[in-house]
């Protein structure tokens, strides 16, 4: 790009000099040429500057921020979401609409990274992850990711949006003095001052916080009893602790993430250990992905569907048995890679080669 600018500086004086010498009757023609050149150069400039990947990320981030769950899913169906951030946004949208364990494998999956992307030291990618943690009730982690993203802003400024999230976490955690400090800062901003004004009512007012639909629910879901250190590579343990710490057993989203995590990790042992916990969460059906895995495991073990104790629907039964038979006959059969078979959980488990996440080495400070 700098070459274009340098060339423009070099040539514009000559062009201007040339134009001044042109006769009047030719001015209109020359002006037309000028406009055409401008349009062509402008178009090329836009094409050159436009990074579709960045704008996809921005788009997903914006949709997540505005809770446009269906738009996220529509977007993912139209255009494959295959970046870690996009996958996590799609899975988040599935969870927020209560269909993560139903339709998980109908979208591109990249392993457990697609649920909780690895932390990156930038100002963009930790933001949707912070939202995921927040919705799950992992308040400390939501705040941490928001804080880290804020600190990663290259010009050292602060973000009103991230400040909002940090304040929400502080209010939920009852750290009202810190929340007040940040709210006073936001009150001086153009776009967030009215929000900050509204939040002031929660400071020190436990009853108001508990009565607020969002804060009250998240207070209920967050960790209150078990004291442990977070490990982002043992997310099943983190989710399990989060679920059982809540004595009301109503964190359905945590359950969906837990099961999705085990499936994406292809960890059948832990899947079989954890899926029965679903009985606490009042599903009106066994989530489809769980059905598919249970059918497949039963068939593998017993060779027949007879005596299978699970309440499964006919479509899942048919598709899963078809998948298993087709796969056994010829694992390279092209139909396995086509819908509906490629949407089956067993397609991911048997045919998609994602590496299982290992335990992460702790980051060394010194």
């Amino acid at each position: 790009m700098q070459w274009v600018v340098m060339a423009a500086f070099a040539f514009i004086p000559f062009i201007a000099d040339f134009l001044s010498a042109v006769k009047l009757q030719r001015v209109l023609l020359v002006q037309g040429i000028q406009v055409a050149i401008l349009l062509i150069l402008g178009y090329l400039l836009i094409c050159y500057s436009y990074n579709p990947l960045i704008y996809t990320i921005i788009d997903y981030d914006c949709l997540v921020r505005n809770h446009q769950w269906q738009k996220i899913l529509d977007k993912a169906q139209g255009q494959n979401a295959n970046t870690p951030l996009a996958v996590s946004c799609v899975n988040y949208a599935l969870a927020m609409t209560g269909q993560l364990d139903d339709h998980l494998f109908e979208y591109y999956q990249n392993g457990a990274e697609g649920l909780f992307p690895s932390f990156a030291r930038d100002m963009t990618s930790p933001v949707p992850t912070s939202d995921i943690f927040y919705s799950l009730g992992m308040i400390n982690d939501a705040e941490r990711y928001a804080f880290e993203a804020q600190e990663a802003i290259p010009n050292y400024r602060k973000s009103g949006r991230l400040m909002q999230r940090i304040i929400q976490c502080e209010i939920i955690n009852g750290n009202y003095k810190v929340a007040a400090k940040y709210l006073r800062m936001l009150k001086k901003s153009l776009f967030y001052h009215s929000w900050a004004d509204r939040q002031m009512q929660f400071l020190g007012n436990e009853r108001a916080v508990n009565a607020d639909p969002e804060y009250g629910r998240l207070r209920d879901l967050r960790i209150k009893h078990t004291d442990y250190l977070f490990s982002d590579r043992e997310m099943d343990q983190m989710l399990g602790l989060l679920m059982i710490d809540n004595k009301k057993y109503n964190n359905k989203m945590a359950y969906e993430y837990l099961i999705a995590y085990e499936l994406l990790q292809k960890d059948m042992r832990h899947f079989m250990e954890y899926y029965p916990l679903g009985k606490y969460f009042r599903f009106d059906h066994i989530p489809y992905c769980i059905q598919q895995v249970l059918i497949g495991l039963w068939v593998q073990e017993h060779g027949t569907l007879q005596g299978m104790p699970y309440s499964v629907d006919q479509q899942n039964l048919g598709e899963t048995t078809t998948f298993m038979q087709t796969y056994v006959n010829n694992p390279n059969n092209p139909s396995l890679r086509q819908p509906p078979l490629c949407y089956n959980a067993w397609h991911y488990i048997l045919m998609v080669g994602n590496k299982k996440q290992g335990k992460q080495n702790m980051r060394e400070i010194y």
Binding site: F119, R121, M138, I139, N140, D141, R144, F147, E148, Q150, E151, A152, I153, Y156, K158, I172, N173, G174, N175, K177, V178, A180, K181, R184, M185, R222, I223, K224, T226, D227, Y228, L229, F230, S231, M238, L241, L242, M362, R363, E364, I365, Y366
Partner: protein, 490 residues
């Protein structure tokens, strides 16, 4: 033309005079209670050399009128949005009342009505501050990522803060764990972490950048302390990690997976290893020398599997003899304070420069009490070996890192008592018997505005006898260049 100039001058003068006019108390109603002020300086002990104790009324008021009278004479007055004393007038009054008291009369106006609160007093110590100012790190109280941060110095007689070095000069670098030799910045060292990791040692204007790690050691050279003779620096070498809590009451845990102590000789770039302070089954950390240079104090914990047993890591205060000629330890390690026996962990030992006391931080476990709400300041009398919590300066929140002034009459320490999250600096006077005066928050020109708007925490404060001089451009270029001196194991 001339008339216009005179006219404009008169208008300008009139405006200036009007601007200088603030409401003066009249029809004052006296109230028999103390005013709610930020900071609350009532009853604190200050050195006469300290910057003015400006403060703000915490309630709703239009004007604040403050009169300060000295018990030994003198009076100053300020009137405005907040108490903003003239620096010269303040010093004149404080010096006149050294060993006496300053009595503050606060009157506030709200809706045209004046209310005068009960007077409060501030003790002006007879002991001089003995140092020019403070050095500290300012950094957002985050987790792993840091934005703008740096090492700064503050003239304690006024409000001037200047950077020693900021990470804007060396992007990506993080500066920490700085220390000078007994508050003398002629010998100064700090650690640089991040992509351009190194250990900087500056002596009499010349600096050297050491490789952050020596391959034969476990970790980097991290927590330093100068030997009084200036020939050695004791460093801990740590493999430090951090994790994050899930419960709301805690945020971060920092712990070592190994730590030892080494002695570095800047003139020869040699590292002297001593088996007594590099044991496999213990984590040795936070080395400091006694003022006579013949003893090395440090903390030591039995090594446990980390992070599984992070709550079992409990450090005791230990000492070992030190030969100032060779850099070698002498004899066996002696435990001088058994914190583990109390199910506690002692860290950050700092001997007073007069050799009488050892200040340390006590928490429930671990080596990083700054994130521990229960962390408190403790003082060990080295003559009697009796230790006690400094309840006169402690708070219900984390009170952790600290240092002594060169004359051992003052300490500076960090505390999260303000809002539970941001660490600020407090100074306290040390009496001859080891008791301490009520601490005061580091004064600022407009303290409410400063502390409310800052997004930084104060870290690792130390006194400095004069400003630290550093050629920032040269140091930053060297940091970025990655040219490093290799250390050699002796």
């Amino acid at each position: 033309m001339k008339k216009n100039i005179i006219l404009y001058s008169a208008i300008l003068l009139g405006l200036f005079l009007l601007a200088g006019c603030a409401d003066r108390p009249e029809n004052v109603v006296k109230v028999n209670r103390l005013p709610k002020l930020f900071p609350n300086y009532s009853g604190v002990t200050i050195p006469a050399e300290i910057a003015p104790l400006n403060f703000t009324y915490s309630g709703d008021c239009q004007t604040m009128d403050v009169v300060v009278k000295g018990s030994k004479g003198g009076i100053i007055h300020t009137n405005g949005d907040y108490a903003d004393f003239d620096v010269d007038e303040w010093h004149e009054l404080a010096l006149q009342n050294k060993g006496g008291k300053l009595i503050f009369t606060v009157t506030v106006e709200k809706d045209g009505k004046w209310k005068q609160y009960k007077d409060f007093s501030v003790i002006v110590s007879a002991d001089a501050l003995g140092d020019w100012g403070l050095t500290y790190r300012l950094i957002p109280p985050g987790y792993e990522v840091f934005g703008k941060m740096g090492l700064y110095q503050r003239d304690l007689s006024n409000f001037d803060q200047t950077p020693i070095i900021e990470n804007t000069a060396a992007p990506g670098a993080c500066f920490n764990c700085h220390v000078s030799n007994r508050t003398n910045p002629n010998q100064f060292t700090f650690h640089i972490r991040g992509g351009h990791g190194a250990t900087l040692i500056q002596q009499y204007g010349k600096f050297q950048l050491l490789k952050a790690k020596n391959e034969s050691l476990h970790g980097s050279m991290v927590y330093p302390y100068w030997h009084p003779n200036g020939k050695f620096i004791a460093y801990s070498t740590n493999q430090t990690h951090q994790s994050f809590y899930a419960v709301r009451s805690r945020r971060v845990e920092v712990f070592d997976q190994s730590s030892d102590i080494l002695i570095y000789q800047p003139d020869t770039h040699q590292i002297i290893l001593n088996p007594a302070i590099m044991t496999k089954d213990h984590y040795e950390n936070y080395p400091v020398f006694s003022p006579d240079g013949k003893t090395l104090y440090f903390v030591s914990s039995q090594a446990w599997d980390i992070p599984a047993h992070y709550k079992d890591i409990k450090y005791n205060l230990c000492k070992v003899g030190f030969n100032p000629m060779t850099g070698k330890t002498i004899g066996k390690v002696d435990t001088i304070f058994n914190a583990r026996a109390m199910d506690k962990s002692a860290n950050h030992p700092r001997p007073s420069y007069d050799g009488k006391f050892l200040l340390f931080t006590m928490s429930d476990y671990g080596c990083f009490p700054i994130w521990h709400k229960e962390a408190d300041q403790w003082l060990l009398d080295l003559r009697t070996r009796k230790a006690r919590p400094l309840s006169e300066i402690n708070s219900s929140n984390s009170d952790s890192y600290h240092n002594w002034s060169a004359n051992s009459h003052w300490i500076v320490f960090t505390s999260r008592r303000g809002n539970g999250y941001y660490t600020n600096l407090y100074l306290a006077h040390v009496n001859a018997d080891g008791t301490m005066g009520k601490p005061f928050l580091l004064p600022q020109r407009n303290p409410w505005k400063y502390y409310d708007e800052t997004v930084n925490s104060f870290n690792t404060p130390d006194f400095t006898s004069r400003p630290v001089k550093m050629n920032v451009r040269e140091v930053a270029n060297s940091i970025i260049s990655d040219n490093r001196i290799s250390t050699r194991i002796h």
